[in-house]
């Protein structure tokens, strides 16, 4: 902030101030005198402009707080307004109970001229406040779905709605910005997902900085420190680098970075697959605690059913890009119907030698269905809340099976 520069810029700033004043004049039919508006409106006009003006008027007006206020009260168009106030808990219609709605979603990847469709005609609703477990083997598209909600993977057909607002395809920058303050992700590999060159303070507060979610530097530090303690890390770790931490600690940093944004919805992409057994429990507990405390919605992606059983409310089993079974977590374990679900269940290792040795592994053969075009399989509700992908004969067969299991509630 050297004097000469300020002088050279001064005329420019004056111009702007007069411009703002004249605008003010017309708005109020010229009833306000120049003196009255002089201080307050300079402030506002500066706040509305780019940050570069802050420097110029830095000494005359303390523009910082005003700037923050401005940013928070951006005018919203009706769609965005809806989007913004999705959290309004007074309204509780059927549509409001669903956070993410995927309709006929199609995701494909292009390799040269070849197009490979990974997900086709996917319909999935994620309800407010639930943990939805998404289980499948690698290559089944479970991660792709999570990434599509995050707008990392493009959707080539259908749409994804978030709080009844479309978030797939082309959306306005403003909507995208808003979305990214509400939706966060926890990644599988805590080593790769953290920037090696940045210290923990920077990593955790990156989101806060990007969206100016703090009033001043002290507030930011308080928020970060509080979050560090919340995930069980000491505040003095803030100035260390990711390589100084163990895998479990890194994953907790990943969770802190995610939770500090106070998200409404989280995509947890195999957050414990890369961790040791003794640490898995800690991370699972942490996610569950946060979920209960803040009433978030979580999409929990995993390949191991035993993990998902503990944490989720509903489980969706996915095979080759198609949901084959969707049921409340306990119900899925009680009465699995689709052969793929059954094969997944037998694969879960049970830490008990006597039981584990007797187990037989069932391998799923997708060719066993004998589907025909005239009776294409689809996701059908076989009992309340319990959906299975099947065709008509299979539907009948599953019904009988369910009866034998003592199912129908």
């Amino acid at each position: 902030m050297s004097k000469p520069i300020r002088k050279s810029l001064n005329p420019h700033s004056m111009e702007d101030v007069t411009a703002a004043n004249s605008k003010y004049d017309t708005d109020n039919n010229g009833s306000v005198s120049q003196e009255e508006i002089s201080s307050t409106n300079i402030q506002e006009s500066v706040a509305g402009a780019d940050g570069s003006y802050d420097e110029i008027l830095g000494e005359q007006v303390n523009s910082k707080p005003a700037k923050k206020v401005k940013r928070h009260h951006l005018e919203l168009d009706p769609a965005e307004d809806e989007f913004e106030h999705g959290r309004d808990l007074t309204r509780n219609t059927e549509a409001d109970k669903i956070v993410v709605r995927m309709r006929d979603v199609r995701i494909s990847f292009k390799i040269g001229s070849l197009e490979r469709v990974i997900i086709n005609h996917l319909n999935l609703d994620i309800r407010r406040g639930e943990i939805l477990g998404l289980v499948g083997e690698s290559g089944s598209g479970k991660t792709t779905i999570g990434r599509a909600i995050m707008r990392i993977n493009k959707v080539s057909g259908g749409e994804i709605l978030y709080n009844n607002v479309r978030i797939s395809g082309k959306i306005s920058k403003k909507r995208e910005r808003l979305l990214k303050t509400k939706v966060q992700m926890i990644f599988q590999d805590p080593g790769d997902s953290l920037n090696d060159r940045a210290n923990i303070d920077y990593i955790v507060s990156e989101g806060l900085r990007a969206y100016h979610l703090y009033t001043d530097e002290q507030d930011r530090i308080n928020k970060v420190t509080e979050m560090m303690q919340r995930v069980g890390l000491r505040p003095e770790y803030l100035f260390r680098y990711p390589h100084e931490f163990s895998g479990g600690q890194r994953q907790r940093i990943g969770i802190a970075r995610c939770m500090i944004m106070n998200p409404e919805f989280i995509v947890a992409d195999e957050p414990i697959s890369a961790l040791d057994v003794s640490i898995r429990a800690q991370v699972l507990n942490l996610i569950k605690e946060f979920k209960q405390e803040r009433n978030m919605t979580v999409l929990f992606i995993a390949h191991d059913l035993s993990v998902v059983k503990y944490i989720s409310d509903r489980i969706a089993v996915i095979y080759a890009g198609k949901i084959v079974e969707l049921a409340p977590a306990l119900r899925l374990f009680e009465a699995p119907l689709h052969p793929y679900t059954k094969s997944l269940l037998t694969a879960v290792p049970i830490p008990d030698p006597k039981i584990e040795r007797k187990k037989k592994i069932i391998t799923y053969n997708p060719g066993m269905h004998h589907y025909v075009l005239s009776d294409a399989p689809e996701l059908k509700e076989i009992e309340p809340e319990h959906f299975v992908r099947c065709n008509t004969p299979e539907f009948e067969q599953y019904k009988i099976e369910l009866k034998r299991l003592g199912g129908e509630e």
């Binding site: 699972l284 306990l330 879960v348 830490p351 039981i355 187990k359 592994i361 391998t363």
Partner: protein, 360 residues
């Protein structure tokens, strides 16, 4: 039972050190255990507990800054701890003791065909001609259940899926008919379904070839499936050693209790999972007393002062904890451990029923 078994590898008072920035740290601290012929020994522990380092000493694959600082590894009359040159190791490594690593992508050469990588081993170790080796290699691929083995012989590693690659690595290990197969977390990078298949394959082949397996993992579910004996490692020491029944049904060391309690399979909706607080100790400073004491809710004063000796529980079972000392107060094991088998039964019941269903 243990008297009749022949010992393949006998580890006696083994210590391993690493030189880091001019300082020597002891990573394996005076461990002794036998490996019995034809059995599967599982080594369980957190990352950094020294599981992999222990087995790396069997094939001379320690990193350049690591060295055996004491003890013996007796394998068919030879002391492997005394081996120095690469020529010494060539007779053992790969040929009599083979290793399967965690990540099959890094253990295969991406520039060579799968077929070549298998037949190479056969030509080198068995002196087979090229076409003989090819025939043998295809047989091996069939053994590990690769479909269309003849066609896939000329494929490259990237054309195989993770599970398939691990099968290929097993085939390469098989090529030499090793006496001991070390599986270093072979299924950690794989899906549960694929994991179950690979484990079944290893077990099946072990029955056929009668080798001895040393299975390194942190997944107790896998251990329950494959192991005959278990060695639980913590901070470079074996804290509990016994048959699979001993360790799962009558665990004595608090660390084993904690490990078993933290299994997600035990979780119920109502209560949070229990877990081990804190972190494993760092090797940078000397460990005094029981290494697990700071994280152990059953720790006594003596645990912080003196290292516990080995207490025998039965002929096949021992643990390194002061709790087993006759002078120690009687502690009640965690409720979960007492209920472990019951809980597992409940967890398995649903699965069991499904298996029954499919039989019909």
């Amino acid at each position: 039972m243990s008297d009749e078994k022949e010992v393949v590898i006998d580890v006696k008072n083994l210590s391993v050190g690493f030189v880091v920035r001019g300082k020597t740290t002891n990573v394996i601290r005076n461990i002794s255990f036998p490996v019995y012929r034809g059995e599967t020994l599982a080594i369980v522990g957190e990352s950094g507990s020294g599981k992999s380092v222990t087995t790396k000493t069997f094939t001379g694959m320690l990193d350049a800054n690591g060295f055996i600082s004491g003890g013996q590894i007796i394998f068919s009359g030879l002391d492997l701890a005394k081996f120095k040159t690469n020529d010494d190791w060539l007779q053992i490594r790969g040929k009599r003791i083979a290793t399967i690593f965690q990540d099959p992508m890094t253990s295969l050469n991406p520039l060579l065909t799968i077929g070549y990588q298998i037949s190479e081993v056969l030509m080198l170790h068995h002196g087979l001609k090229k076409d003989e080796a090819k025939k043998e290699a295809i047989d091996l691929l069939k053994k590990v259940k690769i479909p269309n083995a003849e066609e896939r012989y000329n494929d490259y590693p990237f054309q195989y899926s993770g599970g398939m690659r691990q099968r290929v690595v097993i085939a390469i290990a098989l090529a030499c008919r090793p006496e001991v197969l070390i599986c270093d977390e072979p299924t950690t990078a794989l899906d549960v379904t694929v994991q179950a298949q690979i484990i079944a394959l290893i077990k099946e082949l072990q029955e056929e070839y009668k080798w001895t397996t040393i299975f390194i993992t942190h997944d107790l579910g896998v251990v329950a499936n494959v192991a005959d004996r278990i060695a639980v490692m913590y901070a470079g020491q074996i804290v509990e050693y016994g048959t699979v029944e001993d360790v799962f049904y009558h665990p004595e060391h608090p660390y084993t209790w904690a490990l078993l309690c933290s299994l997600p399979q035990l979780g119920t909706k109502e209560e949070p999972l229990s877990y081990i607080v804190g972190n494993p100790p760092s090797f940078a400073s000397e460990i005094i007393g029981d290494a697990f004491a700071p994280r152990n809710e059953y720790a006594m004063n003596i645990d912080f002062v003196m290292e516990p000796p080995i207490f025998k529980v039965s002929e096949t079972h021992w643990a390194k904890t002061w709790l087993l000392s006759p002078m120690a107060p009687k502690v009640k094991k965690p409720k979960l451990i007492e209920e472990l088998h019951q809980r597992m039964k409940i967890a398995a019941q649903e699965l069991k029923r499904q298996e029954g269903d499919l039989d019909e």
